[in-house]
Amino acid sequence: MSPADSTEDRTLVASAQNGDMEAFELLVRAHADAVYAHGLRFFGDREAAQDVVQEVFLKLYRSLTSYDGSAAFSTWLFRVTRNVCLDMFRQGRRRPVPIDPVDIAVGASPGVTPDHANTVVDGIVLEQAIRALQPEDREALNAVTLFGMSYAEAAVTLDVPLGTVKSRVFRARRTLVAAMGMQGGDVQ
């Protein structure tokens, strides 16, 4: 996420805090994808991801007055999204769909090219591989790639040292790269 996006978010949040519902709707539209993707990767189920989107934005709306802008909006959003998923899981309202590692290894993608400079990745297989990551690695990767957080912001939010975020994101990437090799993303 660029600093410009971040500035725009702050402006929208400020407007929403002043009662501008349309500003809040713009925030929902701008960030629903990240929340949905996080929910989908957590539960592996579209309906559950839909519930996550509903609940996250409702929670954000309800707590608008408590947001003081000291953290980036994306950081706040990520924190709420993460907590909503964990709460839904802990309360037994949703259970993650188990992942079958075979789906990742065998899900050879059509349309692959033998030239690894033009590697193509099957989005579905990639998502399966992301779901199969260690939860803490997936969380760090999502914080950075879906929510546009810096490693430093992710470290604060996840309450771990900066170096831990670095290694989790890197471990996630290496695992994904390896998984894409298993499913024939390119030929070596």
Binding site: A16, M21, E25, Q54, T65, R93, S150, R174, V177
Partner: protein, 349 residues
């Protein structure tokens, strides 16, 4: 792995994320990746992964989220408005009660803090939150052109309260059955389904005539046609002491009680999708798929039984303390009796 490869790959990964990396280190990593086949593959695959879009929320999902928030905004406004009106009513009733000897409420009839807490939480987090959010709403409603009566919420003094069950002075109820016999005669058809939902919890109709006590506190709103047969309207729901709740309409008062059951000494309240009028049976709340078979699958598995032998189902047969489902077909004395749907019971604090 060669430490040089590891370092190069980590630098590439961090650079992709926009992290600050020493330019000289980037240069070294770039050089290494052009010469090292393994790192070259890593870079190309990483680039491909980066190009692959993450799942995006379907437009319907976004629209649903927005609609939910809009509904809440309207509900909040009604709640704030009703709270102001309730405060005014309480003040006027307190004056009235001062002239007659008040009958103190026995402790057993006083509002159950536990149940009130639960219901109130769902109704926008209680008075404090409602008041705080009202600040936002002033602006929202100004934009949307909805009339809004601002007013501080107060819980009126409880020592002047009076509850008169079946008080003949209360306005008459329109067409609702007035006795338990009537209710029994309605058998198990949808006519015997007389429920409302407040904050996701289900309240069963108990009969007309409960006078709104002077210390009534609004616990939330419901959108229901009740038994009027006309379009659903939004009503505030007030606590009338103990487990009694009252909906005041233009034609009279409707009494309700929270539908609850106990399991291992813990109380659980019935939750449901919104019910827009009498005649509708509570069903599983949003987020729970209707089981395809009697054994609860694929949504639930049988976890245990309660003291009456009613089967308790949970997702994956997990511990029921976080909530559980009941299959249709329980006896008429069961809180879920007569309901043709699966029901969900959430713990009450």
């Amino acid at each position: 792995m060669n430490p040089e490869c590891l370092e190069a790959q980590q630098i590439v990964s961090e650079t992709y994320d926009g992290e600050h990396v020493d330019p000289a280190a980037i240069q070294r990593a770039r050089q290494h990746c052009t010469e090292c086949p393994e790192c070259s593959v890593f870079v190309s695959r990483l680039a491909a992964i980066r190009k692959t879009p993450a799942p995006s929320a379907p437009p319907r999902v976004i629209q649903n989220a927005i609609e939910t928030i809009r509904t809440e905004v309207v509900a909040q406004a009604a709640l704030a408005e009703e709270a102001a009106a309730a405060t005014a009513r309480a003040a006027s009733a307190a004056k009235e009660d001062a002239s007659v000897a008040p009958r103190p409420i026995p402790p057993a009839q006083q509002p159950s803090p536990r149940r009130l807490t639960q219901a109130t939480w769902f109704a926008w987090g209680g008075w404090a939150t409602a008041a705080a959010v009202a600040l936002v709403l002033v602006g929202v409603l100004a934009v949307r052109g909805i009339s809004y009566i601002a007013g501080p919420q107060e819980k009126a003094a409880s020592d002047t309260a009076m509850i008169t069950q079946n008080d003949s002075s209360a306005a008459p109820l329109s067409a609702a059955p007035e006795s338990a016999d009537d209710a029994a005669e309605a058998s198990r058809s949808s006519a015997s389904a007389r429920f409302i939902t407040v904050g996701g919890f289900v309240y069963a109709y108990t009969g007309p005539g409960a006078r709104l006590p002077s210390n009534a506190t609004t616990i939330g709103v419901t959108v229901s046609a009740l038994d009027t047969g006309s379009a659903p309207q939004q009503y505030s729901v007030s606590s009338a002491g103990g487990d009694n709740f009252v909906v005041v309409t233009e034609t009279g008062l409707y009494g309700f009680e929270l539908v609850a059951r106990t399991l291992r000494g813990q109380s659980y309240g019935l939750q449901s999708r919104a019910l827009s009028g009498f005649g509708q049976w509570p069903s599983l709340p949003e987020g729970y798929a209707e089981p395809a078979s009697d054994d609860g699958s694929p949504s639930f598995s049988r976890a245990t039984s309660d003291d009456s032998g009613v089967a308790i189902f949970t997702p994956n047969g997990s511990d029921p303390s976080g909530g559980f489902a009941i299959a249709p077909g329980t006896s008429s004395s069961d809180p879920a009796g007569g309901n043709p749907n699966w029901t969900w019971w959430a713990p009450l604090p």
